[in-house]
């Protein structure tokens, strides 16, 4: 087996045994990126010098017997994470020349453990999109079929893992941006509970929904990555000071005896028949492993998308006000004074989808419309959150599809924003409720495109999610399939 196809835990054993060095692993990944990224376009910035220096330091640390699970492992980051001294663009023209002055908390925690950062990954501009077609640096292609999208907004993070260009990656998830691309690219993706991972040094889209999480080859790697980045951070006042359990300690506890709810509102018309069949097969696997499966109801599901597109755009319009051509980013050359400079810099720097969301959010917050749109959406958010808390009074986990279809062809939905938004109907409610969810490979379409299964957990109960996901993975082979690229 190739070193670029292995998991973190497999590589850790080989690094410790001296079978391979981190410098060798890092070189192998850099060569793989060089060979495949012309076709995939997963990377915006590759950092060979920094990566090889970090790999050499990791090899020294391993030789001293001080290796952490992540020491020497080549990983990559969505280009939304600030990385000291490295260009950080958020896939926007407006940040084309921005070099981050410090490391965000999640990045600093990965570096402390000795992880090797290969580079910065492509994404939808400012994390706004479901297909990775909204990048100022070009669309990312799905490694399973180059004519289809990898999903978004963390499309580069998912494609890089699927194409063996990184062992694991970090993404962010505001309405499905980790889980939906993980599903479309056949990898594992976790959106932790809001507040579980610090957002310090992560470029903000919608601050009450954004959350950092890993994309990996298997559930055990997902547990390792979450362990590294989870936990309270004084620099993020919304990170929550609750204990972080040892996720690997309970990983093998099995799914038997767990009660799984199937929300009836998620098994609807419009769900692709192949996706439906794969998820039904997955339900049977869970039953055979001893889980109890019951139907539950999340009655306000149908309102989640409308709620999200008011809450998220309102927060985005406020967050993105900072890009004004003064402190960082691109400034319009021509202008007639300060206000005109702001307006031209923003119009020239932002892409179409970002402008659309800023406009919608500004409208929803503007005088005369605030109560009808933003406040109304916040109240509906309460109803959606209650749906989940009520369901979790009856069951340990919820099981649903990740997306209504497998990956769609590039260009298919770009003309109709609402159709694109509907790609996220099964993932968005989780962000509104603020809880955690895992996306796992559970099958393929007849055309050979991956299908994903979503497990949704109670707030701060990522451990049960990973435990159930691990049991499912051990009983199936889907995560072992490799894209031929």
């Amino acid at each position: 087996m190739n070193y670029t196809d292995m998991t973190i835990h497999e590589l850790h054993d080989r690094l410790r045994a001296g079978e391979v060095t981190s410098v060798e692993l890092t070189r192998a990944h850099l060569e793989r990126i060089e060979a495949t990224d012309g076709a995939i376009n997963a990377y915006i910035t590759v950092c060979p010098d920094e990566a090889l220096a970090a790999a050499a330091a990791a090899d020294a640390r391993i030789a001293e017997g001080r290796a952490d699970l992540l020491t020497g492992i080549p990983i990559a980051l969505k280009d939304i994470f600030l990385t000291e001294g490295v260009r950080t663009t958020c896939a926007s023209k407006i940040l084309d020349n921005f070099v981050a002055p410090y490391d965000g908390t999640a990045v600093a925690r990965l570096k402390e453990r000795g992880a090797v950062i290969l580079g910065k990954l492509n994404m939808d501009e400012f994390a706004m999109g479901s297909s990775n077609e909204n990048s100022a640096f070009g669309a990312v292609k799905n490694p399973w079929n180059l004519r289809t999208v990898p999903g978004g907004s963390s499309g580069g993070s998912a494609a890089a893992v699927a194409a063996s260009q990184a062992v694991a990656t970090l993404g962010t998830d505001t309405g499905g941006s980790i889980r939906q691309p993980a599903s479309h690219c056949g990898v594992v993706g976790l959106k932790p509970t809001y507040g579980r991972v610090s957002r310090y040094g992560v470029i903000a889209y919608a601050s009450s929904l954004d959350q950092v999480g890993p994309l990996t080859r298997d559930v055990e790697d997902c547990a390792i990555m979450l362990q590294a980045v989870a936990g309270f951070d004084g620099a993020d006042s919304t990170s929550v000071d609750v204990p972080v359990p040892d996720y690997r300690a309970t990983l093998r506890d099995g799914i038997a005896g767990l009660k799984i709810g199937l929300p009836k509102e998620y098994f609807i018309e419009g769900l692709d028949p192949e996706v439906k069949k794969a998820v039904e097969t997955a339900i049977a696997v869970c039953r055979n492993l001893g889980a109890e499966v019951v139907e539950v109801s999340l009655p306000h599901t149908d309102y989640a998308l409308a709620c999200y597109y008011l809450v998220a755009t309102a927060e985005a319009s406020s967050n993105l006000a900072r890009y004004d051509g003064v402190r960082y980013g691109v400034r319009s050359e021509e202008n007639k004074g300060l206000i005109d400079m702001y307006s031209r810099s923003r119009a020239e720097g932002f892409g179409a989808e970002v402008k659309r969301r800023i406009m919608l959010g500004t409208y929803a917050l503007s005088s005369g419309y605030y109560d009808a749109y933003y406040l109304k959406a916040q109240k509906v958010r309460t109803l959606i959150r209650r749906d989940f808390l009520d369901a979790f009074a009856q069951v340990d986990l919820l099981l649903t599809p990740v997306a209504p279809t497998a990956a769609f062809p590039i260009g298919e939905k770009t003309a109709d924003p609402l159709q694109m938004y509907l790609s996220d109907i099964f993932t968005i409610p989780v962000n509104l409720a603020g809880t955690c969810a895992l996306s796992l490979p559970c099958g393929f379409t007849a055309e050979g495109l991956p299908i994903g299964l979503q497990l949704i957990g109670k707030p701060f109960d990522e451990a049960t999610l990973l435990q159930a996901g691990y049991a499912f993975e051990q009983a199936t082979e889907w995560h072992k399939a490799k894209a031929k690229i």
Partner: protein
């Protein structure tokens, strides 16, 4: 119609976006369609429902008022489109 072109132009001024004619035309149709869709929230009775601004209930996060190192003027100005005398330089403010 949920939104008209003059309203879209007003919102663009609020958002500090110097959009062109083609963008105004496209956005008027797109925002109208999206606002038409989100109007479904009106079906729900939300009287007496407390709005959720954060999914995880939290109180104000206080910390001790300690002086800590910051990135400093030089680093802070490194990404500035224009800087002078340790400050961000901007076009004329008072016209």
């Amino acid at each position: 119609m949920k939104i008209t072109r003059p309203e879209v132009e007003h919102v663009a001024r609020l958002a500090r976006l110097a959009l062109d004619d083609g963008e105004f035309d496209a956005l008027t149709g797109e925002m109208d369609a999206i606002l038409g869709y989100v109007a479904k929230l009106e079906e729900l009775d939300t009287d007496g429902i407390v709005p959720t601004s954060h999914a995880v209930p939290m109180e104000n996060a206080f910390r001790d008022d300690l002086v800590k190192p910051s990135i400093g003027t030089g680093t802070a100005l490194r990404n500035a489109p224009e800087a002078a005398d340790g400050c961000f330089r901007v076009p004329r403010v008072i016209e």
